[in-house]
Amino acid sequence: MPKRLQVKLENVSFRYPTMGSFWAKREQDVIHDVSLEINAADKLGVIGLNGAGKSTLLQILGGIVSPSRGRVIRHPGVSTSLLALGVGFSPDLNGSDNAIMSAVLQGMTEREARNLLPAIQEFSELGDAMNQPVRTYSAGMRSRLAFSAAMHIDVDLILVDEVLAVGDARFREKARAAMLEKLGGDQTVVMVSHSTDQIADICDKAIWLHQGRIEVSGDVDNVLATFQQACVSNESDSHRGLSSGV
């Protein structure tokens, strides 16, 4: 039986307007003609160098921005959450209120969200700091709160953007284990990471995004191997170029 479609991109391109003064306005292509399908329980890894368009692709999948060209087809009622560090929290609200707001934005009632609080507080190890405004948090504390909230809120499609750089080494290991458990089974995941190990841990399919285009897609091992090979040959090319220039 075919798996239920959650999101499909058809020839999607995206131009990001660069903000500047009105007269200096220019536009920059970030995603070019990308088509892909995400079905229920898929675990898709997205790899690529900085500026390849990975985070923008997640924003398009999450419906946060619309493509400049092409179509996004979304199964009705599919809830989506983008887990990315440094976004999602209002600095003036305390940790608890931010966690509640995250849950409410995913369609929970305030009461349901409040019921989740003890578990989020315990996992994040933030203790009484949950009652302090998030603007007083260190980067590590913010990450722990974001990660803990995301791990306790159920959504159909989780979009993960480089989040395992969370807290200290011990918390990172705990977060990794929680992530493996949460993202296993029937959970649909699209994960962006610079770490090919993390992608290999969690994903079964992958795409390599290069300058906004899908360079290679398919089985995770093949895509990662091709990507790593390309990175290695690029490095040796640039090394040769440097040597010959000296």
């Binding site: 307007p17 619309s66 983008l82 999602g88 209002s90 600095p91 003036d92 305030e110």
Partner: protein, 256 residues
């Protein structure tokens, strides 16, 4: 997001913001009533004492004008930055942007409930006894909520389009303070001018209506209020739908 989820979100965000705001100040919630009282005191000093307004009831006249205006100015000013100031949320979830200014309006409405309670207390203390006409405050309150909500959505979108609009909006609010009959009586104007002001300045109409029902025990200008409600309601619906259509554009302008 369903309608009930949207309404819950507006209310929850407003309540959380109020709590966060109060927790940053020593006097906390006391500022809700202290700030408007201080404004009234300054206006009374300038227009009542120094410039000698000449009205025996000037203090109450000022209170019933300035306190409802405070809701308008607070709601519009705070909602102007509501979308650009919510980058954290809008870069994470696809949310209808109109909900952000509307939650700011809701926040200012909670404050205004305390301010109106204070206004009723001051009126009664000064000998203005409640009558059935006071019930008109309920529809007036709802119409004012609609007007502020409509302007809040427009202002928040304009600031998204260009941050420069924040300056223009501040000037607009100051201009409205002088143009809405807070420390002068719209009914003392030449009939033609008076009719124009009451027709084209909804805040002047609302302030005059509050005074008619609370101070002079009269029925407000129902025909004009009905017109205002219908026109503002229709325009607010159009702005809401336009903002939904421009949702992604607003996101890009806000997070860019």
């Amino acid at each position: 997001m369903t309608l009930s989820q949207a309404l819950r979100f507006i209310d929850l965000r407003a309540r959380m913001a109020l709590r966060a705001d109060a927790s940053t100040m020593y006097l906390g919630y006391v500022w809700w009533v202290l700030e408007p009282l201080l404004f009234v005191a300054i206006f009374y000093l300038v227009f009542g004492i120094i410039l000698e307004s000449g009205r025996a009831d000037f203090l109450m006249f000022l209170i019933v004008g300035k306190l409802p205006f405070q809701w308008f100015s607070g709601g519009v000013n705070s909602s102007s930055n509501s979308i650009v100031g919510a980058k954290a949320i809008i870069s994470q979830v696809n949310i209808t942007k109109a909900l952000l200014p509307l939650s700011k309006v809701q926040e200012s409405t909670y404050r205004q409930m305390a301010v109106f309670s204070l206004m009723f207390f001051l009126l009664i203390s000064d000998g203005y006894l409640p009558s059935l006409h006071w019930l008109w405050v309920i529809p007036l309150f709802l119409v004012q909520y609609l007007v502020i909500g409509f302007l809040a959505m427009i202002c928040a979108s304009l600031v998204c389009a260009a941050r420069d609009f924040a300056k223009v909006i501040q000037l607009f609010v100051v201009g409205m303070m002088f143009a809405s009959g807070i420390f002068w009586d719209v009914r003392s104007l030449d009939p033609v001018v008076q009719s124009m002001v009451l027709t084209y300045n909804p805040i002047a109409l609302l302030i005059d209506s509050y005074r008619q029902v609370l101070m002079f025990d009269r029925v407000p200008d129902v025909a004009r209020l009905l017109n205002l409600t219908l026109i503002t309601g229709a325009l607010a619906a159009v702005v809401f739908l336009l903002m939904r259509r421009a949702n992604s554009w607003l996101t890009l302008r806000a997070i860019g």
